[in-house]
Amino acid sequence: MKSLWKTFKQGIIYENPLLMLMIGLCSALAVTSNVANGLGMGLAMTFVLLFSEIVISLFRKVIPNSVRIPIFIIIIAAFTTMVDLVMKAYFPDLSKSMGVFIPLIVVNCIIMGRVEAFASKQKVMPAIFDSLGMGLGYTWVMIAISAVRELLGNGSLAGIPLMPASYKPILFFILPPGGFLVFGLFISFNIWLKGKMDKTAKERA
């Protein structure tokens, strides 16, 4: 149980896919211009990651090593298409605003990376905790970045105007350069946080 908890925790700060492993960045930068998109993308990713890791971990012994990549892609693509269809059916507005980035989850490095590096070598339970940790790590960063960008660049949060009417939105933050800037600040914050946590861990030991 303790090691499962540790696996789960890894993805949130220490091995955060966006801030430490720095994979799957392009869609993360593209959709984080408002909070609804950030949250939707985070949940969609977590869902695909969770089920892909479960299935691949279950079948890891029967997947021939030399064709494992095509098989991973088939499994990931199937779950991504399911998410896409379900979103179109039940959350049409969200699906519209995320456009092409949902189908692009198929080629997202985070999923491919976790499946290859973790699920294909581990039992189902650790794989579930790994996918949840990575998914949560991805989702909190997406929400945090999109909150900063939406608040400064549009004066609202999740579509609700928060800034006084006299506030003139700083467009820069909605546009790609602002995305890079906020992203960079989050990376440095995470490295600072990790350093601090390492220190307390050492002091305790």
Partner: protein
């Protein structure tokens, strides 16, 4: 040889499994997705023609007057037996990819309204076209698509002359204006060829057709 057959079979089995599960999800969501699209379309049709009771699909019989703009579908709005006008769903290129507009054309050849269904232009710039709080005329609170309402299709439709552009977004403004113009022209042409002109309109409509033909030719080429 034997090894590669085994690999092929493994791959095929996974593909079959994925297909089967996708088919199940598709079967469950298919109806709902179609219903959602239909609902969104009906809501915008109703929005353009609030008195419309029935919308007859005339997509098959309408053709685009501008090769750069495709007419995705078109509907004839009816209240009881009387026709109210046409709603033309047209798509064309804009700054950030395809833009889809719904353009209402009244029987008197004026624009009943323009709704933006899909636009992926830059947030804060071109995307202001679909921002209900962005006014090209701040005094009268007229939005960018709102300014087309009531315009006659014989008007020039030139950005920065009779169409007010969105600040710093000339490409979006021009692209959307071109789509509106093409959709309106196509709708007018359909009305010309149909027998639907309202009685009072018939004489003016026939005299109009001559001028429309001579006028729309240079403008379609100019628009591109």
């Amino acid at each position: 040889m034997k090894g590669s057959i085994r690999l092929g079979i493994a791959l095929a089995l996974f593909a079959v499994g994925a297909c089967a599960s996708l088919a199940v999800v598709y079967a469950i969501t298919e109806e709902r997705i179609a219903a959602q699209d239909q609902m969104a379309l009906e809501a915008s049709l109703q929005d353009l023609f609030p008195q419309g009771e029935l919308f007859e699909d005339i997509s098959a019989s309408i053709a685009s007057t501008n090769p750069g703009v495709t007419i995705q579908s078109a509907f004839l709005a009816k209240q009881g037996e009387a026709s109210l006008g046409l709603a033309v769903k047209a798509a064309g290129p804009s700054y950030g990819g395809q833009a889809v507009l719904l353009v209402g054309v009244g029987l008197n050849r004026s624009i009943a309204g323009v709704r933006i269904l899909e636009l992926n232009d830059t947030a804060g710039l071109g995307a202001n076209a679909k921002n209900p709080g962005y006014y090209v005329d701040k005094v009268n609170k007229v939005t960018f698509p709102g300014q087309f309402t009531g315009k006659f299709i014989t008007d020039p439709f030139v950005v920065k002359s009779d169409v007010v552009a969105i600040t710093a977004s000339t490409i979006t403004s021009t692209a959307l204006t071109t789509i509106v113009k093409a959709a309106a022209d196509s709708g007018a042409l359909w009305l010309e060829n149909s027998t639907l002109a309202s009685p009072a309109d018939v004489s003016s409509a026939t005299s109009y057709s001559g001028s429309a033909a001579s006028e729309s030719a240079p403008e379609t080429t100019g628009g591109n």
